[in-house]
């Protein structure tokens, strides 16, 4: 089928829910990352030819059949709340906006599951469940924007993961439209299994519905610990993480971040230095009581650690989705998100401090513990995207952050387009081969979200990328000066 004919039929299918207008399509060519057009446009065609908003799996299936017949690339998109261009086209084609596939279908109080459509945001699900005395087991830290299916398509770790595991472990089944248009219900035991779609970044099909385990909404208790000594707070973090009662959320903020918040007037409890550790528990009153005793004992035994007032800790919890508030000091922010071994936090931060000093800027780190072994840590610095050339030089430091992460056993959290040069760090060769085999099996025509996850763009091959970024970083240091180190 000719491309034009396929597009015509898809437009007819979706009617007013399809648009080719440049004004509209251009807005689907970006996510959170403000990457200069100068870098993007020569390599990728990020503006789609068509944006469609289907209302259900059948419509998605028909769109995929037509797109497949004409070999048109398809990029699924919902919240578009990542920074890796996961939901931005690399080769034009069709963007399938899943935001109309929204709503809760069924709450099964006996099985303690909820069936929810793909485009529902996590905050919307949380609100629905809370009104009925239930809650999601875990939520992404971008819950107000992140969609149910979108989070599964990423790695699915966030607030609550430490206690309840990854989202994948909570999903009973998912309805998926495969690239050939077949609608399948996948479970951990089907072929293909559910696990293939987790962290697949929309490259194997489009998830339209999920059945997820839920929990009863229980009381919470929030603690916010402060210390001037990183080693002390890191010690508490490990002790709390490994204690008998697992926290629901364990969030760390480093000294540079505290200083930046203080300058902006938003530091909790008006602290102006040191590190913070937010520890949040949920459970029975008895559990919360034991947790409180444990935290009190921990703090009592450490003179260098103090407990901030309860209302400050509660406010910090209420602000849990607003980590971007620091951006007011930017106006732009650049950074790297590293899936880091918890045990290496201190060493990682020490090297980040050295890196920041070398380039004469402040790098702020914060993140939450995702599993007993790893945490998702964001290290960011302020930049100004209106100064394009300086900004491009600043971009090179993102690689430097990832290099520090790698030295400590970390790797980028998520791949998308921009982290493809790190594929060799994220996956073992055998894992990557396995992923590519899955892709070939389910999407032999390669229409689903091409350019992401499996292979780098020739210009972004690890050697070129590394060389380019290192040269830019060198120029940056030479031109803009640096500090010690």
């Amino acid at each position: 089928m000719k491309k034009s004919e396929a597009l015509r039929q898809i437009k007819k299918l979706c009617g007013e829910r399809a648009t080719e207008a440049r004004f509209e399509c251009a807005l689907y060519s970006r996510d959170l990352a403000p990457v200069p057009a100068l870098l993007v446009d020569p390599l990728f065609k990020t503006v789609p030819d068509l944006v469609v908003c289907p209302t259900g799996a059948e419509e998605v299936a028909e769109i995929l059949r037509l797109a497949g017949a004409a070999g048109i690339p398809v990029t699924p998109r919902a919240g578009a709340s990542t920074v890796y261009f996961d939901s931005v086209p690399a080769r034009g084609g069709i963007v399938i906006d899943l935001n109309l596939i929204k709503g809760v279908l069924e709450l099964d109080e006996e099985m303690m599951t909820v069936t929810v459509k793909a485009g529902t945001t996590w905050s919307e699900l949380e609100r629905y469940l809370n009104a009925r005395g239930y809650a999601p087991k875990s939520v992404p830290s971008s819950a107000p924007a992140s969609s149910i299916a979108g989070w599964l398509c990423m790695m699915g770790y966030g607030i609550g993961s430490l206690k309840y595991g990854s989202l994948l472990s909570q999903v009973k089944w998912a309805e998926v439209v495969l690239p050939d248009g077949e609608i399948r219900q996948v479970t951990p035991d089907t072929d293909p299994p559910l696990a293939w779609f987790a962290a697949s970044e929309g490259t194997l099909g489009i998830i339209t519905k999920l059945n997820i385990e839920i929990r009863r909404q229980t009381p919470m208790k929030h603690f916010l610990l402060h210390s001037r000594a990183l080693s002390e707070i890191a010690g508490v973090l490990t002790a709390v993480k490994d204690a008998e009662i697992t926290p629901y959320n364990l969030h760390f903020t480093d000294e540079a971040c505290v200083r930046a918040m203080s300058r902006q007037g938003i530091a909790p409890g008006s602290v102006d230095s040191g590190c913070l550790l937010a520890v949040d528990y949920e459970g029975s009153e008895a559990e919360l009581h034991r947790a409180e005793e444990m935290i009190t004992a921990l703090v009592t035994g450490k003179k260098a650690v103090s407990l901030l007032p309860g209302e400050v800790a509660e406010r910090e919890w209420e602000e849990r989705y607003k980590s971007l508030k620091l951006k007011r000091s930017g106006p732009s922010e650049l950074g790297g998100e590293v899936f880091l071994p918890v045990s290496r936090l201190e060493n990682y931060l020490s090297d980040i401090k050295r890196l920041a000093g070398r380039y004469g800027l402040e790098m702020c780190s914060y993140g939450h513990v995702a599993t007993p072994e790893r945490m998702i840590i964001m290290t960011m610095f302020f930049a100004d995207e209106t100064r394009v050339f300086e900004y491009i030089m600043d971009l090179s430091l993102v690689k430097k952050i990832q290099d520090v992460g790698q030295r400590h056993g970390g790797y980028p959290y998520g791949v998308g387009l921009w982290n493809t040069p790190y594929l060799g760090r994220i996956f073992k060769v055998s894992e990557l081969e396995q992923l590519r085999a899955r892709k070939k099996k389910l999407d032999p025509k390669g229409i689903m979200n091409p350019g992401k996850l499996y292979k780098w763009h020739p210009m972004l091959n690890p050697f070129n990328f590394s060389l380019g970024m290192n040269v830019l970083a060198g120029i940056r240091r030479f031109v803009r000066g640096g500090g010690r180190g």
């Binding site: 829910r17 648009t19 207008a21 004004f23 509209e24 807005l27 689907y28 970006r30 996510d31 959170l32 403000p34 944006v51 908003c53 919240g79 578009a80 709340s81 906006d97 935001n99 109309l100 945001t121 905050s123 919307e124 009104a131 971008s142 107000p144 924007a145 989705y321 607003k322 980590s323 971007l324 508030k325 951006k327 007011r328 930017g330 106006p331 732009s332 922010e333 100004d384 995207e385 209106t386």
Partner: protein, 389 residues
């Protein structure tokens, strides 16, 4: 970011750069919820504003963009959701001002401006007819018009003054003030539009002329307490007249605040009303001015009333669709937004939905009628009057 918190707004250029495009604003935006396109999201509009104003790409200032900027109710829900604390309501006003400055204002806005400049009110009637609604009072109080030194000046607002379907509001407020024995007056024909329609269409300088006039008249009358029944008028008096009022002692209250005070003082004998009542928070009174408790206190003070909250309430309230002059550029979109709110009203099972803004009352009345719901839409002053019997 609500008006209760200090606005962190700097400049349009900088705020547009600060936006992190996180999309938290997306689902809170009533316009996006109806239209469903990225260009209708606050982040989409700010993204384009960044191109145009922060990066100087004037080509991005298209007619489609101007239309999207006009398709906003200024409800402030996006400001509440914003992860970078952008005072988006101020940002939208500034954006409309810039667009007007570049001569790209929608035609409907020009017509509105010309009418306002000619009549000093949003109707086409003479401003001298401002108190026509008072003819329906059984006993017109003494000093209803321009009484110097009155304890209270009731700022009626254009909609209540000129639109017959809203006349019940000033009638109710007036009767309540009389019942409570309050010494009050109005500005009569000297009351000009509060300026909000001009401010919200980008004509801030013209709006200033209106606020200056109203403030000077209040000072001339030696008034020290002003009560407004329109949420937008109240918002303008409270937040946009600060420089004109500098050094002058004027207490500015919404009718809900003043009536709640009178109720607390026991100035009304309230009879029992066996009704299930829900309350719709007007954006300019609630989210944008921080007044949530006063109307709820009034409702709870009326014996027999079973008060039920709407699913989205207080800071989280949904707009009625009538704000931001949206009706003048896209009446259909405004009506669809009202439809979202009516669905929630239906869910409560309430027999009465109360609001405290004539625009909200008009929007909701039309939509409830269209939906065939057995629900009465009332201003809180009307319900209170009914309770007095």
């Amino acid at each position: 970011m609500t008006s209760e918190a200090k606005s962190l707004f700097t400049t349009l250029e900088r705020e547009a750069l600060i936006c992190g495009r996180c999309g938290y604003c997306r689902n809170s935006c009533p316009v996006y919820r109806v239209l469903g396109w990225e260009s209708a999201t606050p982040r989409g509009k700010i993204s384009l504003a960044k191109e145009i104003f922060s990066k100087g790409n004037s080509k991005a200032l298209t007619d489609e963009f101007v239309q999207r900027v006009a398709q906003c109710t200024l409800c402030g829900a996006c400001a509440e959701a914003c992860s970078t604390c952008i005072d988006t309501r101020t940002l939208w006003l500034e954006l409309r001002r810039r667009i007007a400055g570049l001569g790209r204002t929608p035609k409907a806005y020009h017509a509105l401006r010309e009418n306002l400049l000619a009549h000093k009110n949003i109707s086409t009637f003479s401003n001298d007819d401002r108190l026509e609604w008072a003819q329906d009072l059984e006993d017109e109080p003494e000093g209803l018009e321009l009484k110097a030194g009155a304890e209270v000046c009731y700022f009626v607002g254009c909609v209540s003054s000129f639109f017959p379907q809203a006349a019940q509001i000033p009638l109710a407020v007036t009767q309540l003030l009389m019942e409570a024995g309050v010494d009050f007056t109005t500005m009569g024909g000297e009351e000009w539009c509060c300026g909000f329609p001009l401010l919200s269409t980008g004509f801030a300088d013209d709006a200033r002329e209106f606020t200056r006039h109203n403030v000077s008249k209040i000072k001339e009358l030696d008034i020290h307490t002003l009560v407004a029944s329109c949420a937008s008028c109240y918002h303008v008096w409270k937040h946009e007249c600060l420089s004109e009022l500098a050094g002058y002692d004027l207490e500015i209250l919404h009718t809900t605040e003043y009536l709640a005070r009178l109720v607390k003082e026991g100035r009304f004998a309230l009879n029992e009303l066996e009704e299930v009542v829900t309350y719709h928070d007007p954006c300019d009174l609630g989210r944008n001015s921080g007044v949530y408790d006063a109307p709820r206190e009034i409702l709870r003070s009326i014996p027999g009333i079973e008060f039920v909250e709407l699913e989205h309430n207080r800071e989280d309230s949904l707009c009625c669709g009538g704000g931001g002059n949206l009706q003048s550029v896209d009446a259909e979109l405004a009506a669809e937004i009202t439809g979202l709110r009516v669905e929630e009203i239906k869910e409560t099972g309430a027999g009465i939905v109360v609001s405290s803004c004539q625009q909200c009352e008009q929007m909701l009345s039309t939509a409830v009628r269209k939906a065939g719901l057995p629900v009465r839409v009332m201003d809180i002053s009307e319900l209170l009057l009914e309770a007095i019997g």
